[in-house]
Subunit: 196 residues, 2 copies
DNA sequence: AAGTTTAGTTAGTGCTCACTCACTTGTCCA
DNA sequence: TGGACAAGTGAGTGAGCACTAACTAAACTT
């Protein structure tokens, strides 16, 4: 297998690992085991653990942005935003990407290179959403904010929690976006009318 | 000093430490140094590193909720929500609390006891916001979502980034909530009209 | 056939970390 | 005066970790 193929494979395995444990909570040994290679080879391929992590984070943001772009293809305005919302709900089903992104946010606090790639990622997503939807800053902000809430819902596993407050928080971003046919976008773009 | 006083002091010091490094990225040695005690004494006081972390997270959510309650005192409805928004902006100035909460979210993924305390925290905040504001679920959700976005903005340091997209993302949650006199609440509660 | 490059491994090394044990010091009370 | 108890420490330990050095084996080149 070529080094590049191998690298891609390792990035995939590392994504799963880092999603669970975060940067500090994941050992290169663990990543290597998942990727089916020896642990030192990781350092051949990526130089250091941090560079691997940065690569993983970059890939996650790119995949997220690509999913948005694919979803919004051929659409415009509110329809595009809605389609991207649906795409996000697809991502939540397998929350690897979102979790890695969250880990990147927290790791940004004490690491410059991670912060840089996390900023790049947000810039990318913001740009894609803006370009694809043509929506105003306020709309985009609310849309992005709801995405961040969905991340938290995913991390805490609130969808599978059978309590009122959890349902209230998770209902709209979770199942509603997921399964709701048309109401979704109005709700999240203008949650104002509320359903108490 | 009594053990209880000492415990409170250590929790404060640990909050700062964990805010920077997260759970895995912070050593008990570091916490001890900040608290001005020997490292083994931490285990006397808290039993394990994880129990200390859980205590720190619990305290952070309580302090956040208390700030909200204080801010909304005597107010009702939208005014209460707005006041709590302002209170949140005060917290962002010293982002310790928010960062610890974010670290708790990510740590929740692979640790049950952390997930439990993080869920407790969200339940607490949700309940306080709901009770104090009497707002509908949709409003509360949008409000909470904006809070999560503010967390990310704080983690990435977007306010101090002099780029268009960063300003677009951070403007409203940051300075606007902070300094805006009256427009704030309409904007975040109904960001629909947008300001493009 | 000989040399070079590429993919990959085995066997470490030094360091950090959570946690333990045995000890000391001071205080309160009989 | 002496003893129980609470606060607090110094010195360690074993495990896990990121990272390295030195090597093997196959494929490609000339």
């Amino acid at each position: 297998m070529s080094a590049d193929e191998r690298r891609a494979l390792v990035v995939r395995a590392a994504t799963t690992a880092f999603a669970e444990g975060g940067y500090e909570g994941t050992s290169t040994e663990d990543v290597a085991r998942r990727a089916g290679i020896s642990q030192p080879y990781i350092f051949r391929l990526f130089g250091s653990k941090k560079e691997l992590f940065v690569e993983v984070v970059r890939a996650c943001f790119r995949r997220t942005a690509a999913a948005f772009e694919r979803a919004a293809e051929g659409l415009e305005g509110p329809e595009a935003l809605e389609a991207m919302g649906v795409a996000y709900s697809e991502l939540v089903k397998d929350p690897e990407l979102l979790l890695v992104e969250m880990h990147a946010f927290t790791a940004s606090v004490h690491d410059d290179s991670v912060r840089e790639v996390a900023r790049d990622g947000m810039r990318l997503i913001w740009g894609v959403a803006r370009r694809a939807s043509g929506a105003g800053t306020g709309d985009l902000q609310a849309w992005l904010a709801m995405g961040m809430l969905i991340n938290v819902v995913a991390a805490l596993g609130l969808e599978e929690l059978d309590e009122g407050w959890a349902r209230d928080i998770a209902w709209m971003p979770g199942p509603c976006i997921l399964e709701g046919p048309g109401t979704t976008d109005e709700q999240r773009a203008a949650p104002h009318p509320g359903r108490s």
